[in-house]
Symmetry: C2
Subunit: 201 residues, 2 copies
């Protein structure tokens, strides 16, 4: 089974739609556009899918559940909070690399969902953020993390890894291992080099 050529048309539509939504944005992407890319007429799409928004919803909720599953795995880890945060950063980095297209749509286009799906999606986001916030707060209490505003810390971390797809090209020069190492180092220890001012050792 040469998986790249034929296989399931429905699957092909979903994948091509994600690419299209990513390239043009949800609203600028038309069903005629999409149909052409899967070599169908626009009306034929509706034998496979229910509506344009159904495609967007599937992409958004699949990714939301993926991140929540990752969060559950991290919460179950028996380690300190700093390691849990590192694990979450890696979850974001790896997903951004392995599922670039769909995670981009998830990140950028979810707001074009309409109610009641929009509300449900926002609840899932909030749930994820709350559980991330809990780990940060625990880390602050144990003294693993610097004393600073929890919200600033939470969202600065998220921002750093949530928008990777805007510049990182998996096929480019930077390898995944280097990306993971440097981002984690930078966020945990900062960009400034330790000043060898009062060195003793």
């Amino acid at each position: 089974m040469q998986d790249s050529e034929k296989k399931n048309k429905k699957e092909e539509i979903y994948q091509e739609a994600a690419k299209l939504f990513r390239q043009k944005g949800y609203n600028a992407a038309s069903m005629r556009d999409l149909a052409e890319r899967v070599q169908l007429k626009a009306s034929s799409l509706y034998s496979h899918i229910g509506s344009k928004e159904e495609i967007l919803a599937k992409i958004c909720f699949d990714n939301a559940h993926h991140f929540i599953a990752g969060m559950e795995a991290v919460e179950a880890m028996k380690t300190d909070n700093a390691k849990k945060i590192k694990a979450l950063l890696l979850l974001h980095i790896r997903t951004a690399i392995e599922e670039t297209t769909s995670v981009t749509v998830f990140n950028d286009e979810w707001r074009h969902l309409s109610e009641p799906q929009l509300g449900e999606f926002i609840l899932l986001r909030k749930d994820y953020e709350n559980r991330f916030r809990k780990i940060i707060k625990d880390g602050e209490e144990t003294g693993e993390l610097k004393k600073m505003n929890t919200e600033i810390l939470l969202y600065s971390l998220l921002n750093s890894v949530q928008w990777l797809h805007y510049w990182y090209k998996p096929e480019g020069k930077i390898k995944q291992a280097e990306l993971e190492k440097d981002i984690v180092m930078m966020l945990m220890e900062g960009i400034a080099s330790r000043k060898p001012k009062n060195r003793k050792d």
Copy 2:
């Protein structure tokens, strides 16, 4: 002159358009929408502006020039590179707070520009990034910055401050001074607290 009420209609249209583009995204925002908000019929808008895209272009290029002007000021500073980077972070933070709406549209909606404006805009972006990259490289050479991949450092810094508007509310609890202090500290020195393991002083 009660600046909030009457004044210039053209100015009002631009400001309201920025709000609308931010709320709905450029494509989902209609000229009828916009007209209603400035209490005109859609056709009357065209006595003040040339086209929908002209509004988007103005927002995008105004902001691009603002950031490039800020970059020029920083380049002219007679300080080390770490301080220049701090100054650029503050430029982003302050702009995000003071010009939330327009900087959001600038950040999120520029890709809906059409050629040749799109190409020109991308050149301005690249120029800004190149000049930022130069400061980082200088800082790496002098040993002010940790040794890590320059691209990762550049874009992680930019990501952290470019997407502030997604969570920071100027009218919320966190004050601007705290935001500036914590973000700069976090990026320069990381989130992990110095371990008091081998303390000597």
